[in-house]
């Protein structure tokens, strides 16, 4: 049996912030009616979280759930448990108009940490990232320069960034350039 590895296998870079590829992360895309009670229970069983409200990210470590759209959630579970969680979720949702798909291997996850983390991400995404506007608990889907990406904050100085696996190399190089030593802008 071949051993699964993530897109960049924990590559990291130290600049004005530390950029790290986080490794394998179990991810399930769930689409359906977010006000549905059956769906809410499936989310609670899989992650222990409630259904997130508008642009909410309820994440602890590598388990949680993020609001992606009015009818879409991103469910995060440990990579080793994704098949079992997905099977349980699909079972719980049978009879409901909803769809859950394992997208773990289609994605790459990065973390940006350090006092200048906001600056690094602010350079590549057209998003207001001041401390007043963006806080832990929120998620934002946007673009990272030329590719789609989503990010939320684990704590006040750490971002978690999700992009397509095929764009992982591009995003890592992008974040490396944005985190070059001496490149602080001093906006936030």
């Amino acid at each position: 049996m071949s051993e699964p590895i993530s897109a960049l296998n924990h590559a990291s870079y130290d600049g004005i912030a530390r950029v790290t590829e986080c490794g394998l992360q179990g991810m399930i895309t769930l689409r359906g009616d977010l006000s549905d009670k059956v769906l809410a229970k499936a989310i609670r069983d899989a992650t222990g979280q409630k259904v997130p409200g508008l642009r909410e990210a309820l994440v602890k470590g590598d388990t949680g759930v993020c609001w992606m759209s009015t009818d879409e959630l991103l469910v995060l579970v440990p990579y080793a448990e994704v098949e079992a969680k997905l099977a349980a979720m699909t079972n719980a949702l049978s009879g409901t108009h909803a769809l859950a798909v394992n997208v773990s291997d289609a994605r790459a996850v990065f973390s940006i940490s350090g006092a200048s983390a906001r600056e690094v991400l602010g350079k590549v995404a057209p998003v207001e990232l001041s401390a007043e506007a963006f806080q832990p608990g929120q998620i934002r889907r946007s673009r990272l320069a030329q590719v789609a990406g989503a990010f939320w904050m684990d704590d006040a100085e750490t971002f978690r960034v999700v992009c397509f696996r095929s764009a992982a190399d591009y995003v890592f190089k992008l974040l490396k350039v944005a985190a070059q030593p001496g490149s602080e802008v001093g906006v936030y």
């Binding site: 992606m68 057209p126 207001e128 889907r141």
Partner: protein, 109 residues
């Protein structure tokens, strides 16, 4: 720079996060319509200087289509609203009337 508020995820989305979808509120003429109606539906688009209704997609975001009412001359945005409608909602029409009295665009005024 154009900034539109996505009515689905309430993000103030900047133009590069969006994909333009052309004119909004087109009435489709499909099977059994006259060739002329079908031709007009396919090809004839307004290109106004002033009030215009457009379709936009929050492509690098929630992925939803929505409508925007804006002025092509000044880039002023009168409002955005969900796409599940065949005509602009009254509050959007009122907002335009407040700024551009006597406006009209196709069948709307």
């Amino acid at each position: 720079m154009l900034i539109l508020n996505c009515p689905y995820c309430s993000v103030a989305a900047e133009e590069t996060e969006l994909a333009a979808g052309g004119e909004a509120h087109l009435k489709r003429f499909g099977p059994d319509s006259s060739d002329e109606d079908f031709h007009d539906y396919l090809f004839m688009r307004e290109n106004p200087k002033g009030v215009h209704f457009e379709r936009w997609r929050h492509a690098n975001g929630c992925g939803k289509w929505f409508h925007a009412a804006r002025c092509t001359q000044t880039l002023e945005v009168f409002g955005t609203y969900p796409a599940q409608t065949t005509e602009p909602p009254q509050e959007i029409k009122d907002a335009i009337t407040a700024k551009r009295p006597g406006w009209s665009r196709r069948d709307f005024s």
